[in-house]
Symmetry: C2
Subunit: 199 residues, 2 copies
């Protein structure tokens, strides 16, 4: 991946976040970098491809971040807590807007669907693995790590929608409580053990 391409993809992602998938124009991406429209089409032959690659780029970013969190050298419990709290829409909702729009776009464009599906699969696989590690290490128990990962993901996605779309309906603190409770529930530990765990 050349320097220019990455620069263009970053600009595309930020423009999509700002204006929405439906509304981004090639001119927005171009002028954000002070280059000509034609240059964008020179690197990505069509707008569709630009958008698809931008989402893939953002997904790669998210996965890298997740793997960094899950790769730390601590207990599985702490790593899971860190991951889930990062993914939880407790922080800034910036990233979530992108994925909510991504879901909608994925309903129509197969290329985007593949990107979203892949991100989802990788995310769940990573979580599942760490849960399994924790179980193997005797930290907690979980009869079906993969199922637990799916349920947690679903809850987090749903909470993200509520926090992002219906902004202000649920408090961040409340959301965090629920996420912690759900994680504790899935792992069969007390919530106190979670909140006490220092990262």
């Amino acid at each position: 991946m050349t320097e220019r391409r990455e620069e263009l993809l970053r600009a595309a992602v930020s423009q999509i976040e700002e204006r929405g998938v439906a509304a981004v124009r090639i001119a927005d991406v171009a002028s954000a970098l002070g280059v000509s429209n034609a240059l964008v089409l020179y690197h990505f032959s069509t707008k569709e491809k630009l958008v698809a690659e931008a989402f893939a780029y953002a997904a790669e970013d998210d996965l890298t971040h997740l793997r960094k969190l899950l790769g730390r050298r601590t207990t599985a419990l702490r790593r899971l807590r860190a991951a889930v709290r990062w993914y939880a829409p407790t922080g800034q909702a910036k990233g979530w807007r992108l994925w909510i729009e991504g879901w909608a776009a994925a309903l129509r464009e197969p290329a985007l669907r593949e990107v979203a599906r892949n991100l989802d699969r990788e995310w769940k696989a990573a979580i599942t693995e760490v849960v399994a590690e924790g179980v193997a290490a005797g930290e907690f128990r979980c009869p079906d790590p993969a199922a637990a990962a799916q349920r947690l993901t679903a809850l987090l996605d749903g909470l993200a929608v509520q926090m992002t779309v219906y902004e202000g309906t649920v408090s961040r603190a409340r959301t965090r409580e629920w996420v912690d409770e759900a994680l504790a529930g899935e792992l069969g530990v007390e919530r106190a053990e979670l909140t006490a765990a220092r990262s």
Copy 2:
């Protein structure tokens, strides 16, 4: 609401489902009914308004259906099970596509955000009420009906995304199990009580 308007709104909803919010053209709605483009603009002065009203119309439909389910004369447990199973993305995902697109569109258009927010609020209020009824009747217990409704809704929304966008990743049967478990968990009953309950 006149006859023509409703007809146009129904056509708009089905065209949005078919082509997506971003891609619907006024011409699609018009030709679906065999009328002129100009007629659509005659009734709804602008495309934006047409789309917003179409979503509001669909939301009203969903709420009417929900209230019918929750208004039946049975135990609260049975009514809740019926509502949650209907809302769950177990059936045809047709309606869900609309709301996933609605969330994305709501991120940009305030009018749509209001529609989505309203649907969400009404849905949760209705569920909360029936949970409270069940508690009052001693059918089950639930320390915080409103919170339970929010958690359930979040899980359902999240599962809907997975079922709809990543079609085929999770089986319908599995989803139903999880939804039943979550409901049972919130109400402090055994899942067997739920599945046994004949509607």
